[in-house]
């Protein structure tokens, strides 16, 4: 079949438009964004409750007292869930989109109503606009207008325009032809016929169209949120990304409130502006009795003065009200390892998961970390972890039970190893079922068990195995049905049946406290269909151990015995749900010392190796890359270690071969691991065979960059006061990523830019599209970038200096060692882990090496060490 290059045509059309009509898009963009800013300023000026009051008075006027009260309550709810600013942004977005849509739609509708040709041409165009998935507009929208509210508004306009045009055309065409003829027969001009006869009579229909425009606009706000439209849509989008049901609901209900308000008010306004509808309403009202007070509506004069008074008060408050800026909190810097660093853990509510999760929560908190624990559904847990929103979880049954998740997400996960095993999955029956000992014994006894197996979560790996392998394997799939439920419901059912000595068969796993509580028979699996026993693994998001080397190594070394686990589970079971952490504390008291072994605080090590031999006996194979910083670090360590009596063999490598060699144990250590980004692929491939000894230099990677033609901005601090040139924005990448959060929460406040600049949530492609657009036109733009990135070779860019080091953890230079290195070289491991170079130190050293020239690296290092006395002792304390 001939491949129609439709996409290519559209591509080149969009490219052509971008080059030739840039001025037009700029004009549109500035009109739209100015409108947005103007309306946003007006809407967000009054205090929330005052604004709610204005809104309520309008509702009172248009719909009656009850509507007014409800409107006030609704908007107060939005304020109280702290989504007020977002709601105002959304309201602004919808208003701007609606105004522009109507300015286009009504004349177009009038034109279409008067000309059959126009009508015939517009109809398919409108169909196209309305049915094309709205997200498709966002792609060229971002290219033409950049990220932010503008493409969101444009997409909203395109999506919501059709009903405006259609309803206008319909409304005018619906006007009785005889009326139009009558107007003409009395000598009315065309224009007056339209204004005095057609439009007034079409008004109810046109208002219905306006109402539709607004509603469609609101339905678009979520999609607009994806390109940085912000507002409630952004909040919803964030909630989706974080699987944050609470935020999602709050943002959702806020949208509903705004939508209902706008819907009811435009509906009422339609009645108010159209004389026909107004009369119909008056008639209807005079017929209904009931609580008049609820239907009481103030005179327009009263309503308008009410709104004006409230608005004046709001204005006055806005002028005199102090806008106190948030004070930065200084967290006390403790000597503990975590130093308040945040770690988020996720768990699936399975007993061993709960036990190990809360155990780690307690232990990490004792080490000064701030641990956030959240329960997830299995799918969401893995997604969240793969997205980097969850740091680690402790309950993955690998390689069998959770194989499907691992397969899907392994590229974005780190396996920290198994801490318990082997486990087993099995079907279990109470021991009083004396004739059932093996899976084969179940055959023919379906009626005894009512033909059902009381199952657990349908998403659980065991359920899948049970349904797909075990039952068919033993020919039980016709006889037994797996009743999906949950672990607690399965256990409750087991408990109930057990108490009454009823036959029951349930999927279970070992270890499980149920085996202690009830007399159960694990059914034998002679065909070995359940597979080998799993290990319970700790999985972490990609880069977690690089960011948290201590926690990483603790987790990797974590092991629990069956006694420990079952006793901890039993303790938690005893304390009851909600008191898991107290149970852990009780258990830790009963098991003194375990916490210390699992989360050791490293002290200066000895030179004793794993097998008691001096680690200096064996030469250290050290690899280096011909990059300045690596040459510097490698030769520095060579010098220091040789002073300490180590024998060092240096080998120069390319990156790929080095990782391969190290994973096979041919190389011991290497100092130029660019993690977590640059050498991500290698780390993914070989990481499980390697040890990360932490980073010694950083951050090197993440920065705000501006094109080089922006000459006077060289540092983040230079951005200050230039907000207007950059339109007050820094184009970011995917919201919710650690880098973005860092930029918003730490970087901008650190330079006092947070009031002046807004970080636009977008996506990496969105950011790059925007950069491309801006660069092509030599516009000032600030983007979030990292090194290395092709953008730097493609464009002349200035990486803005970050003197405050506010970017914190980014790409760092890590010391990478062979898997067994920490075991074989505990003292070196300790030294390497503690190794840090400052920017000055590294630059000085590199400089020195540069001066001495190639081949004289060792002399250069010595010279530098002389200038920095004590550096050797600091690096390798004895």
């Amino acid at each position: 079949m001939f491949r129609l290059p439709l996409g290519d045509w559209v591509d080149s059309a969009v490219d052509g438009l971008q080059t030739h009509l840039a001025w037009l898009f700029d004009a549109i963009s500035s009109i739209v964004s100015n409108m947005f800013d103007g309306i946003a300023a007006v809407l967000s000026a009054p205090a929330p409750l005052l604004f709610a009051g204005i809104v309520a008075v309008i509702a009172w006027w248009l719909r009656g007292l009850l509507a007014g009260v409800l409107a006030f309550v609704g908007f107060a709810v939005i304020d109280s869930v702290e989504l007020w600013d977002e709601a105002m942004d959304t309201l602004t977005l919808v208003l701007v989109a609606t105004i522009i849509a109507l300015v286009l739609a009504v004349p177009l509708g009038i034109w279409a109503s008067r000309s059959k040709t126009v009508s015939a041409v517009t109809r398919p165009v409108l169909d196209f606009m309305q049915t094309m998935p709205a997200m498709v507009y966002l792609i060229p929208g971002v290219i033409f207008f950049g990220v932010g509210v503008v493409p969101g508004i444009i997409a909203t306009i395109i999506f919501s325009l059709p009903p405006g045009v259609r309803m206008t055309e319909l409304g005018i065409r619906q006007v009785d032809g005889e009326l139009v003829e009558a107007a003409e027969a009395f000598g009315t001009t065309k224009r007056n016929t339209l204004l005095r006869v057609q439009l007034p009579l079409a008004l109810p229909t046109i208002m219905a169209g306006i109402n539709q425009v607004i509603m469609l606009g609101l339905s678009m706000v979520v999609i607009a949120g994806m390109v940085g439209g912000g507002g409630l849509g952004g909040a919803v989008y964030r909630a989706i990304g974080n699987v944050d049901v609470g935020l999602g609901f709050e943002a959702g209900i806020s949208i509903v409130i705004v939508a209902m308000y706008l819907d009811r008010m435009t509906g009422a306004l339609g009645r108010e502006v159209s004389p026909l509808a107004r009369r119909a309403l008056a008639r209807a009202q005079s017929m209904t009795g009931g609580l008049k007070i609820w239907n009481h509506r103030p005179q327009p004069v009263v309503a308008v003065s009410g709104v004006v008074i409230l608005a004046l008060v709001a204005g006055a408050l806005g002028i005199f009200g102090s806008s106190g800026s948030d004070q930065d909190k200084n967290t006390a810097d403790g000597s503990d390892i975590g130093a308040g660093k945040k770690i988020s853990m996720g768990y699936i509510p399975w007993d061993e998961g709960i036990a190990s999760t809360f155990l780690w929560k307690e232990m990490l908190e004792r080490r000064g970390f701030e641990v956030d624990v959240k329960q997830y559904e299995a799918g969401a847990l893995y997604t969240g972890m793969a997205n980097g929103q969850i740091d680690f979880e402790t309950d993955s049954w690998l390689p069998v039970t959770h194989a499907s998740y691992w397969k899907k997400y392994k590229d974005n996960l780190e396996d920290m190893g198994s801490w318990y095993g082997p486990t087993s999955l099995e079907l279990a029956v109470p021991s009083y079922m004396k004739d059932v000992r093996s899976l084969e014994d179940l055959k023919g006894k379906g009626s005894q068990f009512k033909g059902r197996i009381v199952g657990i979560e349908p998403s659980a790996g065991e359920t899948g195995l049970l349904k797909d392998k075990i039952l068919p394997g033993y020919g039980l799939d016709k006889e037994y049905k797996v009743v999906d439920g949950s672990t607690p419901s399965m256990l409750a059912e087991l408990k109930r049946a057990y108490a009454k000595k009823e036959p029951i068969v349930v999927p279970l796993w070992s270890p499980h406290w149920a085996y202690n509580q009830f007399e159960l028979t694990k059914l034998k699996d002679p065909k070995n269909l359940w597979g080998k026993g799993d290990g319970i693994h700790t999985l972490a998001r990609k880069g977690f151990s690089a960011d948290n080397p201590e926690v990483g190594s603790w987790l990797k070394n974590f092991k629990m015995t069956e006694d420990q686990l079952t006793s901890l589970e039993a303790q938690i079971q005893k304390s009851g749900s909600g008191k898991e952490q107290e149970a852990v504390r009780t258990w830790l008291k009963a098991n003194p010392g375990v916490a210390g072994t699992w989360t050791p605080v490293a002290k200066g090590g000895t030179a004793k190796g794993a097998n008691g031999k001096d680690e200096r006996d064996r030469a250290v194979e050290m690899a280096w890359f011909p990059w300045e910083e690596d040459i510097a670090a490698t030769y520095l360590w060579k010098a220091v270690l040789e002073e300490r009596g180590y024998k060092i063999n240096l080998k120069q490598f390319e990156v790929g071969p080095m990782y391969a060699a190290m994973s096979r144990g041919q190389i011991d250590v290497q100092f130029d691991g660019w993690l977590p980004y640059t050498q991500k692929n290698y780390w993914e491939k070989y990481g499980s065979q390697l040890s990360d000894l932490g980073s010694w230099y950083g951050p090197t990677s993440i920065e705000v960059a501006v094109p080089s033609y922006v000459k006077d901005v060289k540092s983040l601090a230079d951005l200050k006061g230039k907000g207007s040139r950059f339109k007050g924005r820094i184009v970011g990448i995917e919201p919710g990523t650690a880098t973005m959060e860092n930029l918003k929460k730490n970087v901008l406040p650190a330079y006092g830019l947070d009031k002046e600049y807004k970080v636009l949530d977008s996506s990496t492609p969105g950011m790059l599209a925007e950069l491309k657009r801006a660069y092509a036109k030599k516009e000032p733009i600030a983007v979030l970038l990292w090194t290395p990135h092709w953008a730097y070779s493609e464009y002349g860019m200035t990486k803005l200096a970050d003197p405050e080091k506010a970017f914190g953890n980014g790409d760092r230079l890590h010391t990478i060692a062979a898997k067994d290195f920490p075991k074989n070289y505990p003292r070196l491991t300790k030294w390497f882990k503690d190794f840090k170079l400052s920017e000055d130190q590294l630059a000085g050293l590199e400089n020195q090496i540069q001066k001495h020239g190639a081949g004289h690296e060792e002399e250069a290092v010595k010279a530098w060490m002389e200038k920095n006395p004590g550096i050797a002792d600091k690096m390798a304390p004895q």
């Binding site: 005889e178 009326l179 003829e181 009558a182 003409e184 027969a185 009395f186 000598g187 004389p275």
Partner: protein
């Protein structure tokens, strides 16, 4: 057009996808006349009416109004003529639902740019003329059909236009109200002496209102004349078939059916007295009527006496008699088509003339 000129008829033209609504309709309306155009649906009468005020432009021919060719006017000039000199009353009233009765009645004045106070005064006067005083503040949908059409009439009268076009204005009303409105129109016409072109599909209505009547069929005027002309001498079978349903007794006049006075000379009265002179006839006649008396009024006298009813002129001179036999014969026999109507010029150019008012 060329096909029509070449003698093609309407059906042949329709095959080409065009409809010739009005073909060759030339007539003249005298000032102060009610000129009725009568025809069935699709006969082209509404199209004809709309050409008179320029809502539709004829493909050929001219419309002369007050000596002015409307077809030659610019749109603006035409609008001016429409707003000040020609007004129109519609079949379904065409009142503006978003305007009050008063605002509706004043619409034409509003278009003319008459100041509000004067406009409202004149609109109220027009409403009073049509018997709607006191309803000014009401809305059209609160009125009955008859009242709504009175508003439509008031709207047309308020502009003080010379020519009133009425497009089946009473057809949508129920029969009693229709009759009422017809009476009122005749009443108004006596006082206002407007020139009225009235479209209807109802021959009774046409005969009742029309000073002159044009009967249309398939876009052509097939007969043009007074009610009696049409009734007594229908131009063809088509017209004749229409007249069957007409109540002749109300349309035909004594003058139209009377016999020469001498036809009764020599006959005797019921009591045996021989009639020899005009004076004898007048004395013996059960009633004496004028020429314009509808024959419905002759039935009672004729039933009471065998002597013919006498018809006199204004001076009281005997000019004819209506014997009982003649009266019955007129009702009994359908009229046979007479010779072709004189008023219609045969020809291929469609020229419509409205004589100077």
């Amino acid at each position: 057009m060329q096909k029509l000129e070449g003698g093609a008829d309407r059906d042949e033209l329709r095959a080409d996808g065009t409809t010739a609504a009005v073909i060759d309709a030339s007539f003249t309306v005298e000032p102060g006349q009610i000129f009725v155009v009568m025809g069935l649906s699709g006969s082209g009468k509404s199209t004809l009416l709309r050409m008179l005020n320029g809502l539709l432009e004829p493909t050929a021919g001219r419309v002369l109004f007050d000596g002015q060719d409307l077809t030659a006017l610019s749109p603006a000039e035409l609008r001016h003529v429409r707003s000040s000199k020609i007004s129109m009353v519609f079949q379904h009233f065409a009142l503006f639902p978003h305007r009050s009765v008063l605002e509706n009645a004043g619409y034409g004045l509003e278009v003319q740019g008459v100041p509000r106070a004067e406009r409202e005064k004149r609109a109220a006067e027009a409403l009073e003329l049509t018997g709607l005083a006191g309803w000014e503040k009401s809305w059209p949908d609160e009125l009955s059909g008859g009242m709504q059409q009175r508003v439509g009439l008031a709207r047309a009268l308020a502009t003080d236009a010379d020519l009133l076009l009425m497009d089946e204005s009473f057809s949508a009303l129920d029969p009693l109200i229709r009759r009422d409105m017809q009476d009122q129109l005749l009443e108004l016409q006596k006082r206002l002496k407007k020139t009225i072109v009235f479209i209807t599909h109802d021959l009774n209505e046409a005969m009742r209102l029309g000073d002159r009547i044009a009967v249309m069929r398939d876009g052509r005027i097939v007969q043009l004349g007074t009610a009696e002309d049409i009734l007594v001498t229908p131009a063809n079978d088509y017209v004749a078939s229409f007249t069957q349903d007409v109540d002749r007794t109300r349309v035909l006049t004594a003058g139209a059916i009377m016999a020469e006075p001498h036809t009764v000379m020599g006959t005797s009265t019921d009591d045996g007295k021989e009639l020899r002179t005009a004076a004898d006839v007048l004395a013996a006649a059960p009633a004496t009527v004028t020429e314009s008396t509808p024959i419905i009024e002759l039935f009672t006298p004729c039933s009471q006496s065998g002597v013919a009813v006498a018809v006199t002129d204004d001076a009281g001179k005997l000019i004819g008699v209506v014997p009982r036999a003649r009266l019955l014969a007129v009702l009994g026999e359908p009229m046979t088509p007479a010779e072709a109507p004189k008023d219609i010029r045969t020809g291929t150019t469609a020229t419509k003339k409205v004589a100077s008012v």
